[in-house]
Amino acid sequence: MFASPADVTERLTAVDYLSDDAISTSVFLAAALGKPLLVEGPAGVGKTQLAKAVAQATGSALVRLQCYEGLDEARALYEWNYKKQLLRIQATSADDDIFTEEFLLERPLLKAIRAEEPTVLLIDEMDKADVEVEGLLLELLSDFQVTIPELGTIVARRRPYVVLTSNATRELSEALKRRCLYLHIEYPTPERERDIVLAQVPSLPAGVAEQLARTVATLRALELKKAPSVAETVDWAHTLLALGRGDLDEETVAETLGVVLKHNSDHERAVKELGLA
């Protein structure tokens, strides 16, 4: 898929995802070693975006499994089409085999395994799912195969590129982590954040983007309940643009602080520490 980490950086940049050494190397290794990539980090640093960018950069199809509490096999892997099976039994003689491909409903994981064309499988917010789902994934992640009791084992025709994301609201199991390459994305350096803002909001003047990135870095250094995310920085840039402000002075910051800080106590703290009042 990729020739080298530098190649990754270049092709991700082409689809407006600015990567760094850690991201490029992990993305490259996941492709070269054929292992799933587990991405962790605070909310809004571009974990899901990374999977989308990889799909776009390599021209693969993106299959997404959004995890949530109560997600089970029937919605993640496959399900039998009971209605169709019932009709078949009623319509024909009873000894007809009703556990064949024909009656199988594909769910995201099975779809990714059976895909003919290159595929990126995104398993999003893994930590939201129950612990059992992790067990379900182990076979898929280590051997890229799925066992359906009635049909036998289905081996991937073409290994999908698997990306798992997690906000670390709970610790994922050791077994899962062992099978994956691990990438922790932190808040970017001010320089990189400036570039990200400029890539996302091209019409913003470079000087404002610089000020914006520095201010957000200062906010993150305060002890806040919830530090502003990259996504919120980009929102802030959009806000400034919409208000037509060409400069990020104290007054503007005080007026628009709500875009990046969403807790009242954080807001008060920032106003006090930055002397905005």
Partner: protein, 450 residues
């Protein structure tokens, strides 16, 4: 040393430092080495990190060891400099550093740090032997004192105290931190060159944040810990809800069971149960806020308040030698730092200023005794060092008797209990005492009681 030996040695060093690296992960790393360009040091580092380090808390330790086992090449790196780093007088060097702190790249900063360690960090120990120190480098250049000059230059007539100053300060501070790190990394590299990697590796790695001893945390660590309170509370709460949902079933739901039995002709084939009543203890926290254990008490208070939803009610009392209720400082949405500083100045916890458990317990029983009822769990935080004052064991016994549960968390290592003025065992016979030295032990405990 061949590449394989170095790889094996590195993996072993990681395990020695407490990182859980499995055999399979070691093999993955070896496979990764085959596909990446080994000359690119940063991608080598990230390749190792992606395959071996699966917890962010372990990353700083990993980086230290990586720098020791795969030191950067230093020859031929000397860039064309506008200052001669070996000869230039100190003021000129400081000026150069000031420039780097504002807008130097990472590699420039590191190259400068290397040159400075070479110049100021060496001290002759014996003829033919030398030691390397980072403090002598930092003393010679004293980067902290550059702040005023940089600010003057950057702000250039702008109003002080505003956003611009804050942003610049933050930038310089993070620059100073990176410079200090670069200096100590280079010092470690030079020591390893002189006397072997193994010798320095053992002492160079600090324990990850959740293993840090509460009694030894520095101010910076404490700030990092405070930042972890909310993510930690969220993680704990998620785990507790899972545990409660999975736990025992509730009482028999008679109505639904009888209804369901109609399907099977009045025979109750399926039994139905009411959902379990959520168990939410009432928490009364009594904590020693004297200086010796304050960081532990503060962290625990913050964590219990972040977990407020898991308890019906939390009341907190602080004492040094007399007691005051401190619940009011932890209102929902209150600012953490604010709460801590108000706690120190406004609460009335000190009479003579020396910890006195006996008197504190007596005052507590007298003034707030009715806070403890049959539904509440009593949690006492402290090191049980009472300056040889009478312990008031009877009072504690009656308090513990009134509560549904009583626990004592002691931040001292178990082997130091009962040494000096500690009366841990005396109190421990009345109220079960748990060792609680780091965040890992604290979370395990909270998970148990909630």
């Amino acid at each position: 040393m061949s590449l394989v030996d170095r790889h094996i040695g590195f993996v072993h060093a990681l395990r020695d430092a407490g990182l859980p690296v499995s055999l399979a992960e070691g093999l993955d790393a070896a496979r990764a080495l085959q596909v990446i360009d080994l000359v690119e040091r940063e991608s080598l580092r990230e390749a190792y990190a992606a395959t071996l380090v699966k917890k962010p808390a372990n990353r700083p330790g990993f980086d230290v060891l990586f720098d020791l086992w795969f030191p950067p090449t230093t020859s031929g790196l000397r860039q064309r400099e506008d200052v001669d780093l070996d000869q230039a007088p100190v003021p000129e060097l400081r000026e150069h550093l000031a420039g780097l702190l504002m807008d130097g790249t990472e590699s420039e900063l590191r190259a400068f740090a290397r040159a400075m360690v070479g110049r100021f960090g060496r001290q002759e120990a014996r003829p033919g032997r030398q030691n390397w120190f980072s403090y002598s480098v930092l003393r010679a250049l004293s980067p902290e004192t550059l702040m005023a000059g940089i600010l003057r230059e950057v702000l250039a007539g702008q109003e002080r105290g505003g956003l611009a100053e804050k942003t610049a300060r933050q930038r310089v501070n993070s620059g100073i931190r990176r410079f200090e790190e670069a200096v100590s990394a280079d010092v470690r590299r030079r020591i390893a060159e002189d006397s072997g990697i193994e010798k320095i590796a053992r002492s160079a790695v600090r324990p990850p944040l959740d293993q840090l001893d509460f009694l030894r945390v520095t101010k910076a660590d404490l700030a990092r810990l405070r930042r972890e309170v909310h993510p930690l509370a969220r993680r704990l709460a998620a785990r507790l809800t899972i545990k409660h949902r999975k736990g025992r079933r509730g009482r028999l739901d008679f109505r639904r069971t009888v209804r369901a039995s109609l399907q099977s002709g009045g025979v109750p084939m399926d039994t139905h149960f009411k959902p379990p009543r959520p168990h939410k203890p009432e928490l009364v926290i009594l904590c020693d806020t004297s200086d010796s254990v304050s960081s532990f008490a503060h962290f625990t208070l913050l964590l219990t308040y972040a977990l407020r939803e898991q308890f019906t009610k939390v009341r907190a009392f602080g004492f040094v030698d007399t007691v005051d209720e401190i619940t009011r400082f932890f209102q929902p949405g209150a600012d953490v730092l604010d709460a801590m500083s108000r706690l120190a100045t406004e609460a009335d916890m000190v009479r003579f200023g020396r910890t006195n458990y006996g008197h504190a317990l007596e005052t507590f029983a007298e003034r707030y005794g009715d806070a403890i009822g049959p539904k509440s769990s009593l949690l006492i935080l402290g090191d049980a060092r009472s300056n040889y004052q009478p312990p008031a064991l009877e009072v504690l016994k009656s308090l513990a008797g009134k509560a549904r549960h009583a626990y004592w968390l002691n931040p001292e290592p178990r082997r130091q209990w009962d040494t000096g003025d500690s009366i841990a065992t005396d109190y421990g016979t009345v109220v079960p005492m748990h060792e609680c030295r780091n965040v890992a032990q604290l979370t395990a405990f909270i998970e148990d009681i909630a």
